[in-house]
């Protein structure tokens, strides 16, 4: 299983804004348990989808040199369901980015209608948590990940 919750980027403005889409399909196993007879995309996975959209936007802003970790869900609110056959659109913008961290604001649309608001905070962990040493290799943006970017056509 691959933990990838966006299908592709449709807009990407470096350091500023990114838009990704995700098509929901009944081929996804978890929808048969969430819930039996009433399949809806779990809100937690929509937060993950936004975290991937916004996290890649934040990572790309520093050329994927920082280890970008989701540090805090500042806000997550949803006003409805997203169901198989529908398309999610994750729109993320960077509100602030500094050497240590970044804040993003995001809106989720479902088939064009606003569905949720997810605002996140990411940490550049090498610049934080002083005193802790992390592996030198970038375990967030791995080589495997970078090859995906070629698919998304956003690799520099």
């Amino acid at each position: 299983m691959r933990w990838i919750w966006i299908d592709k980027f449709v807009e990407f403005e470096s350091g500023r804004r990114a838009v990704a889409i995700k098509n929901i399909t009944l081929a996804e196993d978890h929808l048969h348990d969430h819930f039996p007879g009433f399949p809806v995309m779990p809100a937690s996975l929509m937060i993950e989808g936004m975290a991937q959209t916004a996290g890649i936007l934040v990572g790309e802003a520093r050329n994927f040199e920082e280890k970008v970790i989701l540090a805090k869900i500042k806000r997550a609110s949803f006003s409805g369901y997203a169901r198989p056959g529908q398309q999610l659109r994750y729109e993320a913008t960077i509100e602030t980015i500094s050497p240590e961290a970044a804040m993003t604001a995001g809106t989720i649309y479902c088939d064009g209608e606003p569905l949720g608001q997810v605002d996140l905070m990411f940490s550049h962990i090498d610049q934080n948590l002083s005193g802790l040493n992390f592996p030198e290799e970038n375990f967030v943006f791995t080589e495997e990940f970078k090859s995906l970017l070629t698919t998304y056509q956003i690799r520099r």
């Binding site: 540090a71 805090k72 500042k74 602030t96 500094s98 240590e100 804040m103 905070m121 940490s123 002083s130």
Partner: protein
Amino acid sequence: MAMSRDEIFEHVRDTLVDALAVEPDEVTENASLTGDLGAESIDFLDIVFRLEKTFNLKIPRGELFPEDLLNNPDYVSNGKLTATGLEQLKKSMPHADFSNFEKDPDVSKMPDLFTVKTLVNYIEAKQTAA
């Protein structure tokens, strides 16, 4: 135009209500960010970002919440700040109230220095300096 202390407090309170999901009446001047309001380390960064935005100012890293002090053996001994360490901390945090802490400068009590009042003092001083 410079804000009054009351106005600063109101904005700081709103910031903490949003950042820490606490009730407005929990945010009193003497409430400590970690002990009373449940802030975790990552929240401090969030608070700094939000204060910068709310008050339209730049908060240099380590100025509001000093770092690195604890890694210096001259400053810390047996889990307590040394006289030099305490002196240094006071110098780097003129906005904090040390009256309780200096009686027993135990490192584990350092978070108590970060109160709502500390933030208000900091913003007030910053505003005067600007």
